[in-house]
């Protein structure tokens, strides 16, 4: 099997690191060699956050190269655009349809680009998910990231049972039920 390259990008505080931990866990359950690499330090401070996940028979490099991502999971529109050059031609972009203004936009020094998703659709296979609305329906806006992960699961080589096992093992015990519910919403959306 060729090494598979997954990326998760978002804004600090959106749960990118937890999501990557779930991905790490599932590659282990499935018996692959895996490397995960993340940028933190400033991660909680609202900066741009990127996580790389590579799994396969033998993985060397811990980062995904430009033009090599099979799946790019973006928790925010602008971040999807920022990292879109990492996508393979045949890769898929799963983007949470949310806008979070970075400080240069808030203070009027930059402009938030318009029609980001429409423009990305011209070049890539894009799945747009309004995960925040779904998460609010569930009663916990925080689990939106797991809904997005559920959508992305369709493009990775793991069974549904393995996904549910790893979520149970990774999220805080009190939140297992709601996270599983959130995952299934996403999972069933694009199967």
């Amino acid at each position: 099997m060729e090494t598979k390259n997954i990326m998760i990008v978002g804004v600090g505080g959106q749960g990118t690191l937890l999501t990557s931990r779930i991905l790490g866990g599932i590659t282990r359950i499935a018996g692959y060699d895996v490397k995960l690499s993340e940028v933190h330090g400033m991660a909680q401070r609202g900066g741009s956050v990127v996580t790389f996940v590579r799994y396969g028979e033998k993985v060397y490099e811990p980062i995904v190269e430009e033009g090599q991502a099979d799946v790019l999971i973006a928790f925010e529109r602008l971040e999807a655009m920022r990292y879109s050059h990492f996508l393979k031609k045949s890769g898929v972009l799963i983007v949470n349809d949310q806008r979070i203004d970075p400080m240069p936009v808030v203070i009027g020094a930059s402009i938030y680009p318009e029609n980001i998703i429409e423009n990305l659709e011209k070049e890539h296979r894009v799945l747009r998910v309004d995960a925040m609305a779904k998460a609010k329906e569930l009663g916990n806006p925080k689990v939106f990231n797991i809904i997005v992960l559920g959508v992305a699961a369709a493009y990775m080589d793991f069974t549904k049972d393995d996904w549910l096992t790893v979520i149970e093992q990774t999220v805080p015990p009190k939140t297992i039920d709601i996270n599983i519910e959130a995952f299934l919403i996403g999972y069933e959306m694009h199967q």
Partner: protein, 579 residues
Amino acid sequence: MQMKEIMLGNEAIARGAYEAGVKVSAAYPGTPSTEISENIVKYKEIYSEWSPNEKVAMEVAIGASISGVRALASMKHVGVNVAADPLFTISYAGVNGGLVLVAADDPGLYSSQNEQDTRMVARAAQVPVLEPSDSEEAKEFVKFAFDMSEKYDTPVIVRTTTRLSHSQGMVNLCNRIEVEDKAYIGNPAKNVMMPGNAKVRHLVVEARTKQMIEEGCDFPINQMEYKDKSIGVITSGIPYQYVKEALPEASVLKLGMVNPLPRKLIEEFAASVENLYIVEELDPVIEEQVKSWGIKAIGKEILTVQGEYSANLLRKAIKKEEIEIKPVAQVPNRPPVLCPGCPHRSVFSVLKKLGIHAAGDIGCYTLGAVAPLNVVDTTVCMGASISTLHGMEKAKGKEYIKNWVAVIGDSTFMHTGINSLINMVYNKGTGTVMILDNSTTGMTGHQDHAATGKTLMGEETIAISIPDLCRSLGIHNVIEVNAFDTKALEKIVKEELRKDEISVIITKAPCVLLSKKLSDTQCNVVSIKCKKCGMCLKPGCPAITKKEDGITVINETMCNGCNLCFEQCKFGAIEKMGR
């Protein structure tokens, strides 16, 4: 059965310390090294502590080693500078129980003030350096480092980089080796480094280095991987992974020990390949030595001394392959910002309103340097805020600093700020120092320190009183104020700046992330009252932005109800409400 786990590089280092039988660990938090201690504390067999700074941490580990147990100190690269004093001398004295320093470098500057290469410091201090290249090796190299430390009577540095510290990979778990405590035998000739003794020890250090240069050739952590001999690469650490990815056909000498260099091994490898490349991030430490032996090699002629490498970078530089990559999208930056509800934002908005400059320091509050706050004018290193302000006063006089303050956090104040404040008192400074006390070490993820009342191991302890400590230095003006009481704060800052003596203003409010949940209240915009003046945007809260029609909107999931925007609005367009 051997257990396999996915571990962060730092987690694996902690595991390595556990398996090696370490009994004492000391550190000061610093990205990317912090998680080492946060994982070591999970092993009850190890005493672990946050020391106030890296020099102290190093000395604690040295003491433990002298007494006869295995000890670890860990820190980021700039922390090694703080610890350099004891490090250089313990290199002479050597060890009793094994002594290992883990130093985490930050190529690419993900969260540091410089890009220095610890191998340079280690060469100066004549301390051996091991460099692992994934989580499994990180664990195993720590164990090897302890054996080496005891065998060669030397402290050993395990050098990591951000990409290793913060990457996760598979690790095989082994059992802990219970290392018997060594007896302490008094030996002043070895442990008291006064000139007469140190002179003798310097010869020992030179002999030791020579011995390691020879015997290192047989260390299993140095590996020759022969394939196509037309390209040979000498590399180590994380760059090894990029070499394997970009040049799978090449022969590789992977060095586990990068200081001192196993010379014969390198000469043998160099002689057996046609074209030799040296791939190392940051400084040409291996390259310059290898070239000085008359060996032809290519390195920094085609590779950068800045930032992280990647497989693509090597493909381009060595194979001259141009890979077609889509251009990077031009999008607005998303720099890190102070969190919604952060008490520092409140303090900085007052300073900004008063037109005051701040000599800054290392911590979350360094973000006061960026737009829209733009209050912090200098940031050098931990503890430097107070001393740079003092230097300005001595250069330009006390009137000059009437619109300057020093800002420092509580953890940084305990780290090295206290030394600077002592200096200011002693040398008759008159500056105003603001200690932004948020009851934690915020930037690195909420570690305790000497003023929080809790140890790393979770025990209650004396919480050193920062105001009492300042008063004990002889400072008369020590004022505590709630960081969110902007009216009181404004008045106090104006008053204290007028005085011709030292003032310490301690602004208090816990880090908003400490409670891990949003406050019970939040702020909301009453759209019809909003005059689109933008005053509420001035403090730069990431929870507030403008809609396309110019009316302010507050993100309900981000707002922490700090009321700073509520106070800014003159038109009553922002209201407080329950959640």
